[in-house]
Point group: C2
Chain length 326, copies 2
């Protein structure tokens, strides 16, 4: 199948389902034409998933499409932005039409679910990888950056941490994507790896409330440093306060679960800071969004650096957050 027909057959036809009135021209010219509403800022982020690095090569096409979008949506959530448009660069070897159609179906379904429109992209022949550039919109005063954390702000995370790392461990021990014969606990943890929930609604509501925010892709212990560096502050994390699912605590020891939360990747929960004055507002936001929110520490003076405590004792994080090696 040739390039233009591929895009048109599987993607372009489905792209009319959203209500993005600010898309003047979507797929089909040398570039998309977009109107950014007055008083809104434009947020842009790019993430690539590579076969064998970010997902197993026999991944289900629908799961791949979902996750590629989810990690990009999560970046918008971390900025407090409303996702609007995505470009898709899909590189793949010769794939059966069924694979492509399942990928496209899941992709367009997820776009619809989050009110995002596919505005263009490129399909090329080569080793399987997916690069998405996502665009979000938000009034200036509602955008959340990493650099606004203040001393004594509480540090919060959404959902539960460490599930995805446990899920990865299970998949590795069970012939990768072979999930037959696994119990409900294992399946839950695997789904948390394959289908993370981007916290878009929460991110939107945190705008104007959180003083800083990011999404957890490489583990709390490593990711929090980005906030500390950008805000020129320190932090203390209470390890026993880390929210962990009953599934991960059933699957492994408490100690191992802590490690997963602190150094495991792929949770895509939000980590953010909020002043005590806004703590009640935050409670209401959590209720509005139907997401649990847990205080896991507080911001300190910069000279105190980053410290972890457990049972009122200093706690040493076993290893630093995951980063791609070159």
């Amino acid at each position: 199948m040739q390039e233009f027909s591929l895009i048109e057959t599987y993607f372009a036809q489905s792209s009319t389902g959203t209500n993005q009135s600010n898309v003047v021209l979507g797929i089909g010219d040398d570039a998309a034409i977009l109107d950014v509403p007055p008083n809104q800022q434009l947020l842009v982020s790019t993430d690539t998933l590579v076969s064998g690095v970010h997902f197993f090569s026999d991944v289900a096409p629908g799961d791949l499409a979902y996750k590629a979008l989810a990690v990009n949506l999560s970046d918008m959530a971390a900025m407090g932005a409303t996702p609007a448009w995505v470009s898709l660069a899909l590189t793949m070897p010769k794939m059966p039409p069924k694979w492509v159609s399942q990928f496209a179906h899941s992709f367009m379904q997820t776009c619809k679910e989050y009110g995002v429109e596919l505005i263009g992209g490129d399909t090329t022949s080569g080793p399987l990888s997916v690069t998405i550039t996502i665009h979000g919109l938000r009034p200036h005063e509602k955008v959340i950056r990493r650099g606004g954390a203040q001393v004594d702000d509480g540090i919060y995370v959404s959902g539960t941490l460490g599930d995805a790392a446990a899920g990865l461990n299970i998949l590795r021990a069970n012939n990768e994507n072979e999930q037959d014969g696994l119990d409900a606990t294992h399946r839950f943890l695997i789904q948390r790896l394959l289908k993370p929930t981007p916290r878009v609604l929460l991110g939107e509501q945190l705008g104007g409330v959180a003083t800083s925010c990011l999404d957890l892709s490489d583990g709390l212990a490593g990711d929090i440093k980005h906030i500390l560096r950008a805000s020129s502050v320190g932090a203390q994390i209470e390890v026993d306060a880390l929210p962990q699912s009953s599934a991960v605590l059933k699957y492994t020891t408490k100690q191992q679960a802590h490690e997963y939360a602190l150094t495991g990747g792929d949770d895509y929960e939000l980590c953010f800071t909020v002043s005590d004055a806004n703590a009640q507002k935050l409670e209401q936001i959590a209720k509005n969004c139907g997401v649990s929110i847990t205080k896991v520490g507080f911001i300190t003076e910069p000279e105190k650096g980053l410290s972890f405590v457990s049972n009122r004792q200093p706690y040493t994080v076993p290893q630093s957050g995951y980063e791609h090696e070159f």
Copy 2:
């Protein structure tokens, strides 16, 4: 080297050289924050180059960085837009620091040359490929789309056609990137393949003058169809009028040179339509931009379809424009 240090060492440090005052926040958060000036539309395009598909695996890193940017800049030129910001998704196997530094140097140099700012991206481990998403700006009435061609408009192209296809042929016959012992003609043609000139200035000046425009990436015979389809018109192309360099005519027969121009890829010249009333204005634009512009045919009623003539006789195009096979 780890992901964050890679970006910061090679790219982020150099990214302050442009004068894009509308970049509120560039590299370093979950997303870039951008201000789109009032009354400007946003143009977005994405192109991927894959090793072994779009370039030889032993490509010089500087040439790869240049070309990846050039093909994206060319998309902005085709819309009449002014390039503003780029995101870079660079996937590569373990590369020596020198390779990465040469890639980054050429990338940032080219950004500077075209007044474009690197606003973010992703570096991942995997088979070599480069995906760039480019953003351009332009007032609404100056954006050029494919769908505006009118019956009797002249069809024009910039520069010369077919050089890149000849260059590819030479490289294939000479152990790929091995260029020692080649004469000036061969070198010129190879450079036209490796270092196409995006016609950004021309594209900007064509806004409000050209009725349609695209850039030639797959050969005139195939690419012109996109204008015809979008505009619901036909076209007649005068094959003998195709502008061809003295180099390509020295390298091969006239007949083969025609084929290169019509069905060879990678020229990245602009093809556009202009009404006779604006023909003089066009001449002035060509002078302003220092680019040769050649009339190669005219737009016809849709029922006449697409036809080619040579020596007043119907001419049959040997093969259709290049498209990536899946």
